[in-house]
């Protein structure tokens, strides 16, 4: 993990983004390990937008080529993949 990044704050920012994107309150109970795609909170477009936000927040590049979505697409998994 990049030393300049506060992981807890980043998780909170991303979860806030998800709640803002869904707008229906469905994401209120979501946590950092909630599978965003598997639970239907985000569709493929929402995931792309969230990952772009993650890149903006961290200045890092998300490697789509090596990401394994079979393990779930949670905020924590996305951050871990983007900032190993």
């Amino acid at each position: 993990m990049n030393a300049d990044v506060d992981p807890a704050a980043l998780e909170k920012n991303l979860l806030d983004w998800v709640r803002d994107w869904t707008e229906e309150g469905a994401a209120q109970q979501a946590g950092p390990d909630t599978d965003l795609a598997g639970t239907g909170l985000l569709d493929s477009m929402g995931l792309v937008a969230l990952i772009s936000y993650l890149e903006d927040e961290t200045g890092a590049t998300f490697d789509f080529g090596t990401f394994d979505a079979n393990g779930g697409t949670s905020v924590r998994a996305l951050i871990r993949h983007c900032l190993p």
Partner: protein, 349 residues
């Protein structure tokens, strides 16, 4: 090959406690896959797909730079030898899959020629023995030389079917395709026909499923599969499958549908129309890859409860593997499947 569409709307409160579940133990054949490699996709096609994503996101207030979207798409298409696909199939419990190789080269500039793509897919099969059938692309505008090339590729590589991409600008009932269908009839090769929307610079009109009707009547011994027929133009594709004995429909891309209530419910409605003997399971991998991969998709269909609710196990087996075996050339079926009941010549619509 189609472009990604939105997943289902979140009409109900999602279950955010969904646990991880092992892959299904049911034998599954995926009748609709592509090698996720930019070697087989024209740059223009990529730009069309990504441009559509960009416009959708922009309209929703997420102005993701086009360059970033392009890079993300390209990064997801670097599985040039299908190693990752095979790993995903292993994890998902998919024993075999059909690799579709559309011929877009008369409409878009392609990185490789059709012959080169055929050779590469042959190499992929050698690298992963027993895992893939290959349906090679044809375009009627290649004329008699194209039909000869098809004959040769089937001789050289043993490909099991052909793939048509009508949005390139031709009807699947175009008489110029009949020499190709003669080859298919002589060799028992099925014809997989793309239907429905695709890259924005291609033609949508020829992609309506009803365009298959003339060819299906003129070549009753050839099996035609309506690609995405269980996802777009579903009512038309379903009645064609119900009443034309040699027309089947594929559900590739099902996880990207925006059907009200979600795709499992839409699949269940399709599975209960009385045409289970004509539906082929397919994912259209690498479509929806970011949304969970093959394991999640297969598990949700096979074990999720909703898609197969009220569908008898025998019908489930037809959809998940047996129907594909019925349309494949007899010699290409796995040995354990070469039994009398899986011969399409013994069945009607």
């Amino acid at each position: 090959m189609t472009q990604p569409t939105m997943a289902q709307p979140q009409a109900t409160q999602p279950d955010v406690t969904q646990p991880d579940v092992p892959p299904p133990r049911t034998m599954v054949y995926d009748g609709h896959c592509h090698v996720a490699s930019t070697d087989f996709i024209p740059q223009r096609f990529v730009e069309d797909v990504v441009g559509n994503v960009h416009r959708r996101l922009q309209a929703q207030g997420a102005d993701v730079p086009m360059r970033r979207l392009l890079d993300g798409y390209v990064a997801q298409h670097q599985d040039h030898d299908a190693d990752r696909l095979v790993a995903e199939m292993d994890e998902a419990g998919v024993q075999r899959a059909v690799l579709l190789v559309p011929d877009l080269s008369l409409r878009m500039q392609c990185p490789l020629s059709l012959e080169e793509m055929a050779e590469r897919h042959h190499g992929i099969r050698l690298r992963h023995p027993g895992r893939f059938w290959v349906f090679i692309g044809v375009d009627p505008r290649r004329g008699a030389k194209g039909a000869d090339l098809l004959d040769r590729m089937v001789d050289d590589y043993g490909f099991e079917g052909i793939k048509l991409y009508p949005p390139c600008g031709y009807s699947p009932s175009d008489k110029a395709l009949y020499p190709y269908y003669e080859v298919c009839a002589a060799r028992s090769l099925p014809v997989f026909v793309h239907t429905g929307p695709t890259a924005s610079s291609l033609d949508f009109d020829p992609a309506h499923p009803l365009h298959i009707d003339r060819a299906a009547r003129d070549f009753p011994s050839v099996q035609f599969i309506l690609g995405h027929g269980g996802v777009t133009h579903v009512d038309t594709a379903a009645y064609l499958a119900a009443y034309r004995r040699n027309v089947y429909l594929d559900i590739g891309g099902f996880a990207g549908t925006s059907a009200l209530g979600g795709w499992p419910r839409a699949l269940n409605r399709l599975f209960r129309l009385g045409i289970s003997h004509k539906i082929l399971f397919g994912t259209d991998w690498p479509l929806n890859r970011m949304s969970g991969g093959l394991t999640r998709l297969v598990r949700q269909v096979v074990d999720g409860g909703e898609a197969f609710a009220g569908v008898r196990p025998a019908e489930q087996a037809l959809i998940l593997r047996e129907n594909l075996l019925r349309v494949l050339p007899p010699g290409s079926r796995p040995v354990s499947s070469n039994r009398p009941g899986s011969n399409h010549s013994e069945t009607g619509a």
